[in-house]
């Protein structure tokens, strides 16, 4: 188990400062192209450890693309080419020697649409462990319980771990996917619009979960919902057309944005 860092509610009185944070991921002059079309334009930013960082911006601004760079999911698309550096604790993610599978074990991801495997709930959660050839029944049982508790799902499914995961509701499925992601104890958790397919009650459950999880994980979340960004995140990055426009603590960004473009977006004037 990771050391629990003290965390604070993001209130105006207790201001977060990026300069005071331990940095988990550092992005340096990051460019990404789909074929010849540039999708990310010289992004440079530092993402703090054990904090929730939200990425907002209009559709097509590159926030999901950027998120998928952090576990090299974009490798799957043939036409993508990149340059620049992304460091995970000073280790270059895109170096030739990087084992991509190992990287993805350190940087977990939850997708927009719940994507449980057509297996039992239990098998879904311990899938990552099985990949690492963990065979010990007790370890598996304990990890599954820990992960499901961590994802606030344990109480709902503890009596039916042998049922097919597809029999769960959408919200439960998404929390199952979160449990599946945290079961292998990654350092960073990427959430790509995790609540966009969920109803308000499930959304609330997932948001509460995010709040809990940042004790143990560095969380990066992409969202279309600005209230959500304001509610759950410590830092917020606003992106537009492949550029990182403004990036600071959430309070400042929503109450006192530096740039007019940001203000226009968060006040709903465009986007």
């Amino acid at each position: 188990m990771k050391e629990v860092t003290s965390f604070s509610m993001n209130s105006a009185s207790d201001k977060l400062k990026l300069e005071n944070e331990e940095i988990a991921i550092e992005v340096k002059d990051w460019n990404l192209y789909y074929g010849s079309k540039k999708a990310l334009n010289g992004v440079t930013m530092k993402l703090p450890k054990n904090r929730v960082t939200a990425f907002i911006g209009p559709s097509g601004c590159g926030k999901s693309t950027l998120l998928r760079c952090f576990n090299r999911m974009n490798d799957l698309i043939d036409s993508v080419s990149v340059d620049g550096d992304i460091l995970l604790y000073d280790e270059n993610m895109y170096s030739k020697h990087m084992d991509v599978s190992a990287l993805r074990r350190r940087v977990g991801m939850v997708f927009q649409k719940p994507n449980p495997f057509p297996k039992t709930i239990f098998e879904n959660v311990c899938y990552g462990l099985r990949l690492q050839n963990v065979r010990d029944k007790q370890v598996l049982n304990e990890t599954v319980e820990w992960a499901l508790r961590g994802a606030n799902l344990w109480e709902e499914v503890k009596d039916r771990l042998d049922e097919n995961a597809l029999s769960l509701s959408g919200g439960q499925q998404q929390r199952l996917c979160i449990a599946r992601a945290i079961a292998i104890k990654p350092e960073v958790l990427l959430l790509d619009e995790p609540t966009s397919a969920l109803d308000p009650i499930s959304t609330l459950a997932v948001e509460e979960l995010i709040f809990e999880l940042k004790k143990d994980f560095t969380i990066l979340i992409v969202t279309h919902n600005m209230q959500q960004a304001a509610r759950v995140s410590d830092y917020t990055a606003f992106m537009y057309m492949g550029d990182l426009v403004e990036y600071t603590d959430t309070d400042t960004l929503f109450t006192n944005p530096k740039l007019k473009q940001t203000e226009d977006y968060i006040s709903g004037r465009y986007g």
Partner: protein
């Protein structure tokens, strides 16, 4: 009316009628095959006809009515009038006396309007020369008449049962026991040749071989004598004399009798019993008399073995090819060309596959295998001759496109999100494919196999070139290790139909057998498919929620 067309009602009617026509055709086909085929197993009534010849002579014809045809004849008095005169095809049996089994008679020449049932007529099925239709007259054992007239039936019943029991015992010893000994002797001979060729056949091994051979020979002779004893017993059962139509007599040795029955004296219930008995014999017995009588058991075994072996061969080939093409290969002109080739492969006539199988598998591959491993058996080929393995391989090649295409279809339907889910947990591409993608594609793979089985089980043309024979001396699967003999030639129901129906000297006798065999082939294909469909449905059930 215009409204009716606008709503598209006429399309619904069109498509519904197309479906109805297809359904009617399928069921009509099955019903016809089933009716004609199953009729073969029924205990038909035997009629007694009196036919007047042009010279005034009256001839008695006794037999089963098999077919009726109408001949158009102009009236003698008034040429304007044309009569339809029925002609009957009568199965008279007694081939050894009459020369042929069947006789056409014209209904105009019949003495009586109505056909008369022959009283107490007995039908005797023989191992050779087909059926006898006649009246039991006397039974002789060891030159002594022990029963005459109505008393014969009871005694004959008992003796005939003993005869069939003896026959089965002889068959078992000949086929299984002596067959096994022969198999071992032959293996010993080949082993010896192999050692001789390698120069390792010295005095010591020679002694061992001789000892082993002596044991086998002794066993062989012992079995031979026991068979001879059984033959003698069968000969001593005696013979029965029947009076047949035309006043002649036929004497049948009791060991020659498969079974006998008196159809006109049988109740409906015993006819039904007889029917199921005949079906059972058909399924479990070896063919007799150039395949025109007896059962089709070796053909059933051959067909099923070939299809199962084909399935085992085609599944890994097809699935691996499909996985490579849709998961690993880079999209481009080469892949497009490969795809087009595979699709076209499905349209290549099956006989071409047969030629390829013969040229490549049998002669080149099999020939090389023989040169490499079976040089000691020369000049007799082992794998360099058509056989089960090559037939299955040829069929696997023939059905490969179907399996590849449906597997690819299945793979492309697995949502991208699931692959990403697997990869995001640190799985490699290979792990994602084997643990998530392939299991979920199993229903599609099964669909491919179902189509492959349907195609392979019904195909005959290529098989004739690569392993199917009219009459195989041994089964491809038996009790001699290694139990499945890939190099053996085998029989196949499809080829059996062709052979019985069109290559047999006795077309009319074998016609019902053709229908019965066709029905059986359909039933076997359907049941193989049903098995596969059941597995697929179970798999689909598991992944069903995924389709939303």
């Amino acid at each position: 009316m215009k409204n009716w067309f606008n709503k598209g009602e006429h399309w619904i009617w069109f498509s519904a009628s197309a479906v109805s026509v297809s359904v009617v055709l399928v069921f009509g086909l099955l019903a016809m095959i089933a009716y004609k085929g199953l009729l073969h197993f029924w205990a038909h009534d035997v009629y007694d006809y009196q036919v007047t010849h042009s010279n005034g002579q009256i001839e008695q014809v006794i037999g089963e009515l098999h077919d009726t045809k109408f001949k158009l004849v102009t009236d003698d008095a008034n040429p304007e009038i044309v009569h339809e005169v029925p002609e009957y095809l009568i199965k008279t049996g007694n081939r050894d006396v009459y020369g042929i089994d069947f006789k056409w008679i014209n209904s105009r020449n019949l003495e009586l309007e109505k056909a008369k049932l022959a009283d107490n007529i007995t039908v005797v099925e023989r191992y050779q020369w087909g059926n006898v239709y006649g009246y039991l007259e006397s039974l002789t054992v060891d030159g002594q008449v022990i029963a005459t007239g109505s008393a014969v039936k009871e005694v004959l019943q008992e003796l005939a049962e003993r005869g069939t029991a003896l026959h089965e015992e002889i068959l078992y010893i000949e086929k299984t026991v002596i067959g096994g000994i022969n198999y071992k002797i032959n293996r010993l001979r080949l082993e010896q040749k192999k050692l001789e060729l390698e120069g390792e056949y010295d005095a010591k091994t020679e002694a061992e071989f001789e000892a082993e051979r002596a044991v086998l020979n002794e066993e062989f002779i012992a079995q031979q004598t026991s068979i001879q004893r059984l033959y003698d017993q069968a000969n001593e059962l005696g013979e029965v004399t029947l009076g047949i139509a035309g006043g002649q007599k036929i004497t049948v040795k009791i060991k020659q009798i498969v079974r006998f029955w008196q159809p006109n004296n049988m109740s409906l219930l015993s006819k039904i019993g007889f029917f199921f008995g005949s079906v059972g014999n058909f399924l479990t017995e070896d063919p007799r008399e150039a395949n025109t009588e007896g059962g089709v058991f070796p053909a059933i075994v051959g067909t099923v073995t070939m299809v199962l072996l084909m399935t085992i061969l085609v599944t890994p080939m097809g699935v691996l090819a499909a996985v490579y093409m849709s998961e690993y290969a880079k999209e481009g002109p080469v892949l497009r060309l490969v795809r087009i080739s595979i699709n076209n492969l499905a349209g290549v006539p099956s006989i071409v596959f047969g030629i390829f199988g013969l040229g490549f598998f049998v002669y080149i591959l099999g020939g090389s295998i023989d040169d490499l491993f079976y040089g000691y058996a020369a000049p007799n080929p082992v794998f360099g001759t058509p056989g089960l393995l090559w037939a299955s391989l040829t069929m696997a090649l023939l059905t490969l496109p179907v399996v590849i295409v449906s597997t690819q279809e299945g793979l492309s339907r697995i949502p991208r999100s699931l692959r990403e889910g697997g990869l995001a947990l640190g799985a490699t591409k290979f792990e994602t494919i084997t643990r998530i993608v392939l299991p979920m594609a199993t229903p599609a793979i099964m669909t491919g196999l179902i189509l492959a089985i349907a195609r392979a089980a019904g195909e005959v043309a290529p098989l004739m070139l690569v392993g199917v024979v009219k009459l195989a001396p041994t089964l491809p699967v038996d009790f001699n290790a290694p139990f499945i003999h890939l190099e053996n030639k085998f029989m196949h129901l499809g080829f059996h139909i062709y052979d019985v129906g069109f290559q047999s000297p006795n077309v009319e006798a074998s016609q019902p057998l053709v229908y019965a065999t066709s029905l059986l082939l359909v039933v076997i294909i359907v049941s193989l498919n049903l098995g596969a469909i059941m597995i697929r449905n179970r798999l689909r059930e598991r992944y069903k929620a995924l389709d939303n």
